[in-house]
Amino acid sequence: MNLTLKIWRQKDASTKGKMVDYKVTEISEHMSFLEMMDVLNEQLVNSGEEPVAFDHDCREGICGMCSMYINGEAHGPDRGVTTCQLHMRMFKDGDTITIEPWRAAAFPVIKDLAVDRSAFDRIQHAGGYISVNTSGNTQDANAIPIKKEAADTAMDAATCIGCGACVATCKNSSAMLFVGAKVSQYALLPQGQVEAADRVKNMVAQMDLEGFGNCTNTGACEVECPKGISLENIARMNRELMKASV
C-alpha cells in the first residue's frame, strides 16, 4: 500500500518543531507500524535526509518504549497493543497517517517522536518498590498465603509497562493510571502493605511535582492502555491516599 505520512519533526528539545509530509510506497499490510517507519527511515537515509527519531526496543509489546500518537490515538487505532504490535493492515491504501510524539509538559520532546519519560522513573524512585533485604536470606514469597483474587489483581496492575500512553491520551495529561497501577501492585500484597502509606504519599507528591494534570475520570487512559490497566487502580490509589492521610 502507498501512504502519506504527516510526522512531527523537531531537531532537539529547544528547537520549534513542525509537521512534515512524507510518501511511502509498497508497504506490506503484514508489516508492523515500526517496520513501516524503518522503511521510511531507510528512504530518508538513502536520499541524504535526517531519519525520524523514535523510541523502540523489544518490538514485542513488553518494553514500553515505542510511543507514537497515531491518527489522534496513543499507539494508533488498534486496542490492547503498543505501536510495535500495530499492523499496517489497520490502514488502507492511500491513507494519510498523522504521527506525533506523546504530548505532555512532563514528557518534553527530545527529538522528533522521542520524548523524555524520566518523570515516570522519578515517581518510581519515590516509592515504587518494596524494601526487601535480598542479601541471600530472603524468605520464599510463596511462604506467605495470599488470596488468589489479590494476587491476580496485583498481577494485572503489574502488567503496566510504563509506556505513558495514559498520559498521552488523557485530555489533562494525568499520570494517575500509571501511578495507580504501581501503587496497587504493592498495596494488594502483604509484602507491599508494610510501606503502603509512605509509598502512596511519596509517589503522588512526586507525580504532582512533575507537572502532570489532574484526572477527571474520562476513562480514555483505560481504553488506550496497551495492557488494559483498569480505572479501578486509580480508585484504589485514591483510597490508599485517603487512608494514609487520615
Partner: protein, 224 residues
C-alpha cells in the same frame, strides 16, 4: 489531612464531595418544585418553611452557597492546571475514540450551568434576599396571600426564559451524565462501577427532565 487536600487527588476528592452535596441539593430542590405541579397550597407552605426557617436560612443556605462557589472555583482552577499540563496540542486528537463527549466537556457544560445559575439568582434568589434581608419582610405574603406560587408562575410566562431554562437543564443532564459516576470514582468506589453507571444515567435523565416538566407546566398553565 490538610496536605491531602493540597494534592491532585485531594482536589479531585474535594470536587467529588461538593458534587455529592450539590446532587443531594438538586433532589431536594426538584422535590419541592415538583409540589408546585400538584398543589399550589402545599408548594406555598413548604416554600414558606424553607424561606423562613432559621436553620435553612442561616445554616444550610450559606453552606449551599459555599458548595456552589467551591465547585465552580475548584473546577476552573483544575481546568487551568490541566491546560498547563499540555503546552503543545496534538495536530490530530481523536477523543471520541476513547471517551464520552460529556466527560471531555465538563468545563463547557459547567459554564453553561454557571450562566444559568446567574439568571436563576436574578430571577429568584436576589429578589428573595431583597424582600427578606433588605426590606425585612419575612411574612411570605403579598396582598394577604402567600406569594411563592404566584411568583413562580410569573417567571415562566416568557417563552424565551422558559427555553433558556430548558436548555440549561439539558446541559445539567450532560454534566451529571459524567459527573455522577465520576464523583463516586474519585472517592474510590470503583467496585460498584457498573451499578453506579446505571444509577448515574437514570439520575442524569430524571432530575433535569423533572425541572423541564415543571418549567413547561407553569408556562402552559400560567393563566389558570
Amino acid at each position: 489531612m490538610s496536605g491531602f487536600f493540597k494534592s491532585s487527588i485531594g482536589r479531585k476528592v474535594s470536587m467529588a464531595l461538593s458534587a455529592f452535596f450539590l446532587m443531594v441539593f438538586l433532589l431536594q430542590h426538584l422535590s419541592i418544585n415538583m409540589m408546585s405541579v400538584f398543589s399550589a397550597e402545599l408548594f406555598n407552605e413548604v416554600s414558606h418553611f424553607m424561606g423562613s426557617n432559621p436553620v435553612v436560612q442561616f445554616a444550610l443556605q450559606p453552606v449551599l452557597i459555599f458548595g456552589v462557589v467551591f465547585h465552580f472555583v475548584m473546577g476552573l482552577i483544575l481546568e487551568i492546571k490541566n491546560n498547563k499540563a499540555r503546552k503543545v496540542s496534538y495536530a490530530q486528537n481523536n477523543g471520541a475514540a476513547n471517551s464520552s463527549w460529556m466527560s471531555r466537556n465538563m468545563i463547557w457544560s459547567g459554564l453553561a450551568i454557571l450562566a444559568f445559575i446567574t439568571l436563576h439568582f436574578i430571577d429568584f434568589w436576589f429578589p428573595e434576599i431583597n424582600t427578606k434581608f433588605i426590606q425585612g419582610d419575612w411574612s411570605g405574603l403579598h396582598n394577604g396571600e402567600f406569594r411563592y406560587y404566584h411568583e413562580l408562575q410569573e417567571k415562566f410566562v416568557n417563552p424565551i426564559r422558559v427555553a433558556g431554562y430548558c436548555i440549561a437543564f439539558v446541559f445539567l443532564g450532560l454534566h451529571l451524565a459524567h459527573g455522577f459516576t465520576s464523583a463516586f470514582q474519585s472517592v474510590g468506589a470503583a467496585s460498584l462501577r457498573k451499578k453506579l453507571g446505571v444509577i448515574g444515567k437514570a439520575y442524569a435523565i430524571i432530575v433535569p427532565l423533572g425541572f423541564i416538566i415543571i418549567a413547561l407546566y407553569h408556562h402552559l398553565n400560567h393563566n389558570h
